[in-house]
Amino acid sequence: MLADIITPDLFAAALRMATPLALAAIGGTICERSGVVNIALEGIMLCGAFAGVAVTLATGNPWLGIVAAVLAGVAISAIHAFTSINLRSDQVVSGTAINILALGVTGFLMEIMYGHPGTTDSINTIRSVFRFESNADGGFVSTVWHWINGIFLSHTPIVYMAIIIAFVAQWAMYNTRWGLRLRALGEHPRAVDTVGVSVLKGRWVAVLMSGALAGLAGANLTLEQVGSFTENMTNGRGFIALAANIFGRWTPLGSYSASLLFGFADALQIKLQIFRGQIDIPPQFFLMLPYVLTVVVLAGVVGRSIGPAAVGKPYEKK
């Protein structure tokens, strides 16, 4: 049985499942590094997922769907930016409102556009970038090739984009002007202000970037994985992404790695469900696994992981 569970596609699924979490988590990292808490990732992702499907259904072009998802993410995160940066609302409350708003807006639009609640029509999901032949029957080399091909070369574009984004964001955070200012913003915004760099602008950019990334995460969910939109389909992924960001100690690569862990747990529980006949555990317990794991990670592994000093605090110019 173990050989049936541990296969290339288990790890491939882990990468796939990790992708929406990782994109949202990196968005959360950027946002929180600038000093703004973003518990709205869940809702932003949902909006991206919906916009992606809606535009793809309308145009038949999933690439336009991806663009739409990103734009939708940016648009809805702009509300979060405005309330938490300009109006200096409580950021967690604002994020909660966004999450509720996203549920309402996607559900409302779904009914007026498609005439029914629930799930949209299906679209053709975006296909994987590479399609190499491989099989496990041959010798050592062909088996290795089969595993490499299965795990790393079987993916859709956004999966690769997420990996690239993780590395680029990590590099940029420690080597560019933007990165230095971002890291300073979340720690001591007044210090940034007093050297003549706008705190407002820096935070706006960060929140919008997190919106774009969470929107892209939504596009990955619907356009590459599921192929349709269902109400509230993000199912807590935005919150798990926040945990991944904390586990990854507020760094893009850390966020990606933590997301891989959660993605693996998800892939494993799906895989195990296939063997339901042999393992006498109700499926609900497998479905709980990612959420339990998130709590365990927050409780045990993270310990007293300390975030940016000024995160969650609205900045007020003197």
Binding site: V93, T96, L101, V105, F239, L298
Partner: protein
């Protein structure tokens, strides 16, 4: 600010009360206006929609009964959220505790079949509160001991609770038949309908008492509101809760255990959410199934925020959201507007209330600036 001018001590200024009440009302009005705008843009008639909604929420005694029915768990969940907010804790996962409360009530109700109502009702309520508190306990401990953010942990526990209930109603607690649900609670474990308390003659004489499905859980909720208010205002428990919420460092210096207060606050919040689940099971469905709550725990957030975390103000705030929820169906039926617009209005209310808080915050900051930056 150093002046000691003689001013009569007026702890309850009518102007300040008007201001406190005025801004939430303004938030609601603004949210409804924007909601109307969205309907209008989408090609609906907002006037007809809200007229239908009003009809569905207040039009008949039965409709008002539905509003009370929806408000009951909202009051309790809102109280739970408000109590947590007062300790600076955001129990975003009240929904999960609500599920556990409903589960405890349903399970114990089935166990206690044959007991008289004065035994089973208090026991069910107690069990539901304990279950809700227990579900909040691990996030509470994690928050107090290592600072794990309760927004993430209680949210995760909500999903866990949902899957747990969804397993139980297809598995161990499932009643015979096709539908995944528990068996019906014995009558002794049900909260009776309000109209069932009156004789047919009384109902004939006073038709406004024909409140349909509204049940006596509303009295449980109202009593809870008064108790929470008294606790916050007149007990050391409430004093410590508020002190920790405003300034944990000063509270700690004053000999208050911040960790223990945090645990108590989140568990009490969970107990109230659990009670919300219990009244829903005992008063409305009389059984448990996995969709028994229509997001009362989450709407409770909006209720508490709109009430500015004041336990008494939670009641009208819950009535408002209860009315929106009760009238939403009629609105969809009569004006063809998707009920989801209610969620949008709810989100808008939260935005405006939060932004309003910022206005007063801003004024305060300006006043502080005078003292601290005038140096």
């Amino acid at each position: 600010m150093s002046a000691a001018e003689e001013r009569p001590a007026a702890p309850r200024d009518w102007a300040s009360i008007a201001q406190k009440v005025g801004t939430p009302i303004a938030s609601v009005v603004l949210a409804i206006l924007i909601g109307s705008l969205i309907m209008w843009i989408s090609g609906y008639d907002p006037v007809a929609a809200f007229a239908a909604l009003y009809q569905g929420a207040f039009g008949t005694p039965k409709a008002f009964g539905d509003t009370l029915l929806k408000s009951t768990p909202l009051i309790l969940a809102g109280l739970g959220l408000a109590y947590g907010f007062r300790a600076n804790l955001f129990n975003i996962g009240a929904e999960g505790q609500l599920f556990m409360g409903g589960l405890a009530a349903a399970w114990l109700g089935l166990m206690l079949a044959g007991q008289p109502w004065f035994v089973s009702l208090p026991l069910l309520i107690l069990a539901a509160m304990l279950a809700g508190a227990a579900w909040a306990f691990i996030p509470a401990i994690l928050k107090a001991r290592i600072g794990a953010h309760e927004v993430i942990t209680t949210m995760m526990f909500t999903y866990i609770a949902r899957y747990l209930v969804s397993w139980l109603v297809v598995g161990p607690l499932k009643s015979p038949g096709q539908i995944p649900q528990t068996g019906l609670l014995p009558v002794e474990s049900q909260l009776p309908r309000i109209q069932s308390l009156f004789s047919e003659a009384t109902l004939q004489a006073m038709p406004f008492l024909k409140l349909g499905r509204a049940h006596t859980g509303i009295f449980v909720a109202l009593i809870a509101a008064v108790i929470v208010w008294l606790v916050l205002k007149y007990t050391t428990l409430g004093y410590e809760n508020r002190a920790v919420g405003y300034n944990p460092f000063a509270a700690e210096t004053g000999g208050i255990s911040v960790q223990w207060t945090t645990v108590k606050a989140l568990c009490i919040s969970g107990a109230l959410a659990g009670l919300a689940g219990a009244v829903e099971v005992m008063g409305v469905h009389h059984r448990l199934f996995d969709q028994f709550s229509s997001g009362f725990g989450f709407t409770g957030i909006a209720v508490a925020l709109l009430a500015k975390n004041h336990p008494i103000a939670v009641v009208p705030a819950a009535l408002l959201f209860g009315a929106l929820s009760a009238g939403g169906g009629t609105m969809q039926l009569m004006a063809d507007v998707p009920q989801k617009i209610i969620l949008i209005v709810q989100a808008l209310v939260i935005f405006f209330v939060a932004a309003e808080g910022i206005i007063t915050y801003f004024i305060k900051q300006r006043q502080k600036e005078v003292t601290s930056h005038a140096g």
